[in-house]
Amino acid sequence: MRKDQTLGEYLQAQGVSRRGFLKFCSATASLMALPPSAAAQVADALASARRPSVIWLSFQECTGCTESLTRSHAPTVESLIFDVISLDYHHTLQAAAGHGAEAARMAAMEENAGKYLLVVDGSIPLANPAFSTIAGISNLDMLTETAANAAAIVAVGSCAAFGGLPNAQPNPTGAVSVSDIIKDKPIINVSGCPPIPVVITGVLAQFLTFGKIPELDHLGRPAAFFGQNIHDRCYRRPFYERGEFAETFDDEGARKGWCLYKLGCKGPTTYNACATLKWNEGASFPIQSGHGCIGCSEPNFWDKGGFYNPISAGNWGSRDALLGAAAAGAALGIGSAIAARRRQKKAQETTI
């Protein structure tokens, strides 16, 4: 697609009929979690949309977010979105390396100053700049330099959005999120470990379509995808209401598909679209596959006291665990339980 072409002109040049375009818009509206009646609005906006430049930076991450994205329902809708964005820098996907790659980033920043979209996955280490560098440039320097002239930033994955796994205690690299560093740009947090691929493309489609950031929740996440918790949209919710719980992963309740709350499901406190959009081309999601939600789209999910402890046990372990810590503390002469309770209190204060 040429840079001066609109998306409508590009699709027409590709021989896509108006009918095909309406189908594309209908699927895009669904992808963006917009009501079906918004398809016409999407069609009008997309017909005149121009190709935005996208710079993608990967910092302290496992590449799971890029894996998730490139495994999205590849052809047609999402690939068209990728045809019409200009992905000018993504060091995992691009062929260029070293100085050539950095020159492409600088050129894209200069040509599209104030207009490009910056996508970041991974957290940024502050303890020592040398913990993570690209072409000899620290993550912090690359982020601040590239963010300076970006129109908006999309923090993809829980590491970029909230610090994620690198930020888990004891956080040896001093990992922080994008929003801990950049304070003067609109930031969209697309959290998840990894995020649902169609949520990533949905947010990019939203920017492409309307040229502005979507409505966000209090954690900076798009409300269309993170507005409701997993529990409220879970098909196992009626079992919860009736008090029918699986107690172990192989008991009768588990075989009958009952609620996984007692097995540590974090659905009630986790906001994401897994229960409706699902994974692997809409095939299933963790709860449907028999495992509770681990709450991966929430801040500090890694430090919330164990994936298999029910939420009612608190963030820092069950009552039994706290009593156990008290016994150990008494034996050792160290107030482990006091320390545990202090951490719990601090966590509550942070949450509040």
Binding site: A27, S30, A33, P36, T76, Y235, T276
Partner: protein, 141 residues
Amino acid sequence: MDKNESDSELMSSLETIPVNVEAATGNVEPLLHEIRHALKRLADGEKGTTIDLRGLPLAPGEEERIEAALGEGEVRAELQALGPTLVEETSYPGVWLVTHRNADDVVIARMIEVTRMPEILMSQREDILRGINKLESELQE
């Protein structure tokens, strides 16, 4: 035993695990009532309604229950535009099931449209104009 035989044995042994999922969201019947209300509005001359099935929490098997409840009607059309799209009128006239697939045959959107005719089936003005140009240039040759 080669790998295929061992995979096949593993799969058949998985089937012996007594899993009997009895989940239901209870969303099927309310959805059918929503369709009934939308049909009444359509019959009264009001605008049609589109329901995005991706936006609803459904338990395994519930989408199939919705399909079975709606049944098959008189019209079934398939169009090829950026992958196949199947447009089926259900046994309730005015209630259509529209399934958009991409070029890899993966479902990308599924809608229930309560309308006299889904717009995707209608010839579009832009395509008609392009058709006129094509016909005129062919007649000039």
